[in-house]
Subunit: 174 residues, 2 copies
């Protein structure tokens, strides 16, 4: 995707295309449209990061709370966003046996009880065993550390979703 | 609705209930959940206002860009949120004749071209003629003035949506 094409998008098309690079937070891509023209994809990513980091702690926690549980209710009921569905599927969350589903449920519940937001991890970069391991490990963090840790994962997810949009568009054009 | 009931909600139920009090910005209600316990409904509203006003100008514009056009594409195609559908209907936007639809299209386009965000007005508090009049009038503002003006409308919409949630819940309980 040519950055000039992106810079020529109306805000409506921009939000339609990039609105879910941060899960269920179209506000963020809608906001950074104000910073056009972008130099390149990295510039878009930098503006998103800058916006997220400018938020108060409650706002960062709000971003996390817009994320679904891994192997949770939305996966079971088929109400995940397309992006989350693909990511959870790639990480093996769609093929857990019942003992594994229960284990994830228990760990997610403990995590949410402790922090007041869901466990967020870049599923594309982690396999099932790593996810369970990190979930158990990160449960030991204090809330402020864990909030920042989880936001780092949001940034990784965002980076991969951005790349995915660009790649699929190029494939469409080929 | 008893405020104690609200304060006892998980963040998931809180976002499900209040997630669209600012149009398509669940991030905002998800964020202010961090400030529980709330004293009353006015306290929830105050936290939302505080959050919105803490955003950089791009963030305020981002909120506006999450709103649909009045009598626009989403209304025609039936893809408005439930809340917007009700509000636009009450303001008479669903019963415009073709000349009025064209007039709204022309004015909305001019407004978006000028400001880079859509015209936002609390439809519940305005009738058709007032909406057209204010749209024409506000087109004369400069961008900074108009951004703040539009955010005032977002706050009015939010206040009425909050009240609506509380009222419908009480009605359900009766």
């Amino acid at each position: 995707m040519d950055i000039n094409v992106v810079n020529a998008l109306t805000y409506e098309d921009f939000v339609k295309l990039f609105g879910n690079v941060v899960e269920k937070c179209p506000l963020i891509s809608a906001a950074i449209w104000s910073h056009r023209p972008f130099k390149d994809l990295a510039d878009i990513e930098a503006h998103i990061t800058e916006f997220i980091l400018s938020l108060p702690d409650s706002g960062k926690e709000g971003i996390l709370r817009c994320h679904p549980d891994l192997a949770g209710r939305d996966l079971q009921s088929g109400t995940l966003t397309r992006e989350s569905q693909e990511e959870q599927s790639q990480a093996g969350m769609t093929t857990l046996d019942s003992a594994e589903v229960l284990q994830m449920y228990r760990l997610n519940s403990e995590y949410k009880e402790r922090f007041g937001f869901p466990f967020v991890i870049c599923a594309r970069l982690n396999k099932k065993a790593d996810i369970v391991g990190q979930l158990s490990e990160r449960l030991k963090n204090d809330r402020a550390v864990e909030r920042e840790r989880a936001i780092e994962e949001v940034k990784k997810i965002c980076r991969l979703r951005l790349r995915n949009i660009v790649l699929s568009d190029i494939q469409t054009k080929l």
